[in-house]
């Protein structure tokens, strides 16, 4: 009997020690922008051509996920980890701190930068970024990407570019320009200038080429242009509509709209074989094709159901499936790289808005509060989108995060800006 008692006690003791800790479940939280401090880069020597820390600060702020601490409130500007007094940053409410130091070695800049957690005084990472004297802005975007990814768990998209078309009227003539710039609008670069309309730029997956529609031959034609050497090539010269080219994510094909057989239909163009394949055959208008991330299906707009709606076309078997059912106007589809979020123009209450539809659960969300919104384009990390809108009768670009938490306008220097296309990574 005693032995049994002892055994029971032993078991009781074991089970007691196993369940010693109280377990508490945390199921809710807040989703505020993260307070981050980006201390000015420390360096010796002349004034730098770019304020790297300011670029990082602006990038993070524009993402809508960060609330950078103003530089004038900072109590110190540490350049190395041992110079940091975490208490100073806690007082400012910072959750994270970015510090860095720059040295010039030969013709190269070398930035050593660190991300730190303020409340736990822990180092998240220290990294080194190297670049030529002309690449200081690229280095800033790269650092922004690294910091963004470490904190949000989402790949950054600050190192990407945007293509867009500007138009400026003067003396009864309109000058069209195809431009490329950083996503923050800096480093604008002219790609093509014409007295005839330029439309629908689309990036190659390696971001080295663009396809677009130009009217310079007297009718719309699709061109392909290399950004580095400006080599260009005309791809289509059919009667009627030649439009809305979209480069496939695997780089092999273009999807486009041709009306050479009488009625706008969706085609693909094999870039290597230079061969067109027709995919739709319907008396209604089929237009605005855009690729799914796996390059196996397309989304497009069609009015075959009586009103413009978005459909998905599976290339292998030609199967067409309707995707949108809410509202009497859904057009200009763009599939985000997550393959799940469909971005489109949605008309509600006689106004055109940017909306997203979750293809898994069907949720429809209106993201923009302006009217006459057009041409949405999604960032490669599926976190933001750019679109064209009209403010005071002038075409400008606007950005909105896919959760609609942040919206801002991109300033245009002159004229109307339209048809933005966000580059791939």
């Amino acid at each position: 009997m005693k032995k049994i008692n002892l055994i029971i006690i032993l078991f009781a003791f074991i089970s007691l020690s196993a369940s010693a800790e109280l377990s508490i479940n945390i199921t809710k939280g807040i989703d505020n922008p993260t307070k981050i401090a980006i201390a000015p880069l420390s360096f010796y020597g002349n004034q730098l051509p770019e304020d790297t820390s300011r670029i990082i600060e602006d990038n993070l702020k524009r993402s809508g996920l960060f609330d950078p601490i103003s530089r004038k409130n900072m109590l110190s500007f540490p350049g190395t980890i041992k110079d940091i007094y975490f208490r100073d940053w806690k007082i400012l409410g910072a959750e994270y701190l970015v510090i860095g130091s720059l040295i010039l070695s030969g013709d190269f800049y070398e930035i050593t930068y660190s991300l730190l957690e303020v409340h736990s005084s822990r180092l998240v990472f220290t990294k080194i970024a190297k670049g030529s004297k002309r690449q200081l802005r690229d280095l800033s975007h790269h650092i922004s990407d690294e910091v963004y990814e470490a904190i949000t768990g989402i790949e950054g998209a600050f190192s990407t570019k945007v293509a867009y078309v500007t138009s400026l009227k003067s003396n009864n003539k309109t000058l069209y320009k195809l431009m490329v710039s950083d996503v923050d609008g800096a480093r604008e670069r002219l790609i093509l200038e014409s007295n005839h309309p330029i439309m629908s730029p689309s990036w190659s997956p390696d971001a080295k080429e663009l396809v677009y529609v130009s009217f310079e031959t007297g009718r719309p034609a699709v061109f392909r242009q290399n950004l580095a050497n400006a080599n260009r090539k005309q791809l289509t010269n059919f009667r009627g509509l030649n439009g809305a080219p979209s480069w496939s994510p695997d780089g092999k094909k273009l999807a486009l709209v041709l009306s050479k057989d009488g009625n706008p239909e969706i085609y693909t163009f094999d870039l290597r074989k230079e061969k067109f394949i027709r995919h739709t055959n319907h008396f209604a208008i089929d237009t605005e094709p855009n690729w799914a991330p796996d390059s196996k299906s397309l989304v497009f707009t069609s009015d075959r159901g009586g009103s413009p709606q978005i459909y998905r076309l599976t290339l292998k078997n030609g199967e067409v499936q309707r995707l949108t059912f809410r509202g009497s106007y859904n057009a200009r589809p763009r599939l985000a790289s997550n393959g799940r979020t469909l971005v489109m123009i949605h008309r509600s209450a006689h106004q055109f808005h940017i909306a997203t539809q979750d293809l898994v659960n069907g949720d429809l969300r209106i993201l923009s509060n302006t009217s006459l919104d057009e041409s949405p384009t999604v960032s490669p990390n599926s976190a933001m989108l750019l679109y064209a809108t009209k403010i005071n009768n002038r075409g400008v670009l606007a950005a909105v995060s896919l959760d609609a938490g942040v919206k801002f306008l991109l300033p245009s220097k002159q004229g109307d800006v339209r048809e933005p296309a966000w580059s791939p990574k």
Binding site: L6, S23, T27, G29, N32, I151, G153, I154
Partner: protein, 213 residues
Amino acid sequence: MNILFFTRLTSLILAISLSLILHLVVIYFLFNKWDEGIKIQKVSPPKYLQAKLVNLDEKIKKKIQPKPKPKPKPKPKPKPKPKKNNENKIKHKILDEQETKSLQASKQLELENKKIVSSYSAYIIERIEANWNRPPSARRGMESKLLIRLVPTGQVISVKLLKTSGNIAFDRSAEQAVYKVGSFDKLQQLDIQTFEKNFRKLQLVFKPNDLRL
């Protein structure tokens, strides 16, 4: 071969018996300690009463009332019985009654204790939830588990990741939430035993259920 096997067997038996003896010693020691532990618990009630006054005044009054209720129930039963049974049995009954009473008292104590623990747990949850800033990559179904250590002032002295959610940013946000709270000051109100038993080491499970995706 046989000899070798035999020597091995004897050495094995020796080792086993030695470990058995050691185990028995440990168990005997535990047995004694165990008894003492129970005695200490019996002494503690007044302390708990003080703790109750801090937090749950109304509920204590309600809990004191049920105490007299169980008394009348056993009483009618013993009344007819004494006439037929021996005095010994009566004594046994009284002892039983005392035992059940003390059992009820300890059960009630346990209940009170649970109430206190859950009310302070709720306080901890509230503090952490107000400081948990989830990254946009957080999704429903993610779960990370932390082990935190506290001192009686309520201050967090260590945070350890026990189970990752698979998303580093998510894990970091959970750890950051605890560091941001820094100190659970209200835990200072607890008596030291309750603190030691429940709040010295805590497991926190971060499992969002209020996200859209």
